[in-house]
């Protein structure tokens, strides 16, 4: 009888845990129902397909890079690359907002990794159909396995092939190894949370529902297995990975898996550069506390390299 009671209490505990809802401050948090990513209301400021829906012959030749942000982030993560592009005028940046992101906790909770990826697919298809000839892709963190999956999936077969893909701090192996136990621990925890700086408030979700952590684990586990089997890039598409040597979110060994698992169409190895940084997504400095001159120099060096790769392919 006593055992039965303990069992019932345990079930009740699980039930209560499953229904945990975080306390969301609608006035300051992206998780609430007041703050949204600006790209949802002004897509023309972020998506090249919306800004130039009828490109001239000249515009079609200008390199355009589709930049995909990471898990729980927004288009903000690539703002500095867009600013750089605006200052040089040598290429366009199309900042996609991943599905389920930049909206509300509830919309995020319901989304799958395929929803996250859908916005990259949509923008790529639009640019390809509009006649843009020099399309590039950049992913940061979770944006990277989403892009890798597009290659594996044969998404580019009937579209303009990307000229080059840039992966910034890709996640294939999470630094937090507890993520591997999310199926068991998730229902008990309900969600996890992160500390944001003042500059990051309203730009990232604070709360991470376990359903989305399960989706993240599913995506990176699939990517690891695909890399294990081997992935060939489309003809004439190049790839470069930049990875911080110390990273509390995406384990640096992710770069090893990409290097071993991906090859150019002709069988040659893809490029990888391990960078001396402790930042996750070292190309995003805005909103961070304690940014150093070294961080700024590394960001600028990377943007310049990306630009050079686009204007002198």
């Amino acid at each position: 009888m006593k055992t039965d009671r303990i069992y019932l209490l345990f079930l009740l505990f699980i039930f209560v845990s499953c229904n945990k809802m975080p306390e969301i401050d609608n006035n300051t948090m992206l998780d609430g129902d007041q703050i949204f990513d600006i790209s949802l209301v002004q897509p023309e400021r972020f998506l090249i397909s919306a800004r130039y829906p009828a490109p001239s012959a000249l515009q079609k030749d200008i390199p355009v890079i589709i930049a995909a942000h990471g898990y729980t982030a927004t288009t903000f993560e690539w703002d500095e690359l867009r600013d750089y592009a605006d200052s040089t005028g040598t290429f366009y940046v199309s900042q996609v907002l991943l599905g389920g992101h930049g909206r509300s906790y509830e919309e995020f909770r319901k989304s799958t990794w395929k929803d996250w990826q859908a916005s990259i697919r949509d923008e790529y298809k639009k640019l390809s159909r509009l006649g843009y000839k020099n399309i590039y892709l950049a992913g940061s963190s979770t944006g990277c396995p989403l892009i890798i999956n597009l290659i594996q999936d044969g998404f580019f077969e009937n579209l303009t092939k990307p000229k080059k893909i840039f992966l910034i701090d890709p996640i294939v192996i999470s630094s937090n190894k507890t993520l591997t136990m999310v199926n068991a621990l998730g229902p008990v925890l309900g969600y996890t949370s992160v500390e944001l700086t003042d500059g990051e408030q309203g730009k990232w979700y604070v709360y991470r529902p376990y359903e989305t952590l399960k989706q993240l684990m599913k995506l990176i586990d699939l990517t690891r297995k695909e890399l294990q089997s081997g992935i060939r890039l489309p003809q004439n598409t190049k790839l470069k990975t930049y990875k911080s040597t110390s990273d509390g979110s995406a384990d640096p060994v992710s770069a090893v898996l990409i290097y071993k698992g991906m090859k150019h169409a002709d069988g040659t190895p893809v490029e990888v550069e391990m960078v001396d940084s402790k930042l996750h997504v070292f190309t995003r400095l805005r909103g961070r506390d304690g940014v150093t001159e070294k961080d700024k120099a590394l960001q600028m060096k990377t943007f310049k390299e990306m630009e050079q790769a686009m204007i002198h392919p």
Binding site: S175, T178, T180, M217, K278
Partner: protein, 178 residues
């Protein structure tokens, strides 16, 4: 279903009759297979020793060497890595064919990244593990075990090799040498 129950009962009773070990000591060796949760299969060899001196064969001393080369990394792009462990188990119901065990292992882990670009990344670590599981000793000189283990030292992206994960499952098929 009834047939299956009869077969299982037969195997268990057959196993029970011969499970007692009368020797002063016992040496088992065989195959160890490990699946890490959300990572690789790593397989290799293991040895298990016990004696009447070890609390009437309740304590088993063990060692194992496993590698992903004989698992997920065999003809694939998975990372080559090895684990060597030494440890001890405590056996419950040590005179029965079906036993429960829990144990402690210490050892060493090493991964190989195969390119100088990754020389700055940690690729080795000590191992500290706890495991627990079931073992069945057949009448013929074989035993089969399944266990769940936990690595207390793992990586966090800032230190430790990235493919050292916490949770693993082990399966052992051992031959009773003595």
């Amino acid at each position: 279903m009834k047939k299956l129950s009869v077969i299982i009962a037969f195997i268990l009773s057959f196993g029970y009759s011969g499970a007692q070990s009368a020797g002063l000591y016992e040496l088992n060796a065989g195959i160890t297979a490990q699946k890490t949760q959300k990572l690789y299969w790593e397989n290799g060899l293991g040895v298990d020793f016990t004696s009447d001196f070890l609390f009437g064969k309740r304590i088993h001393l063990k060692t194992a060497l496993i590698t992903s080369r004989l698992g997920s990394a065999f003809r694939s792009n998975a990372i080559n890595q090895e684990s060597f462990t030494l440890g001890a188990d405590w056996r419950f119901f040590s005179r029965k064919p079906l036993q429960i065990f829990t144990g402690f292992n210490a050892g060493y882990f090493m991964a190989h990244y195969d390119d100088p670009e990754f020389d700055d990344l940690a690729n080795s670590s000590p191992l500290v593990q706890l495991d627990a599981g079931l073992i069945y000793r057949f009448a013929f000189p074989l035993s089969l075990s399944a266990s769940l283990g936990y690595n207390f030292i793992t990586s966090n992206g800032e230190q430790g090799p990235g493919t050292l994960f916490p949770l693993f499952y082990q399966f052992k098929l051992y031959y009773r040498i003595k």
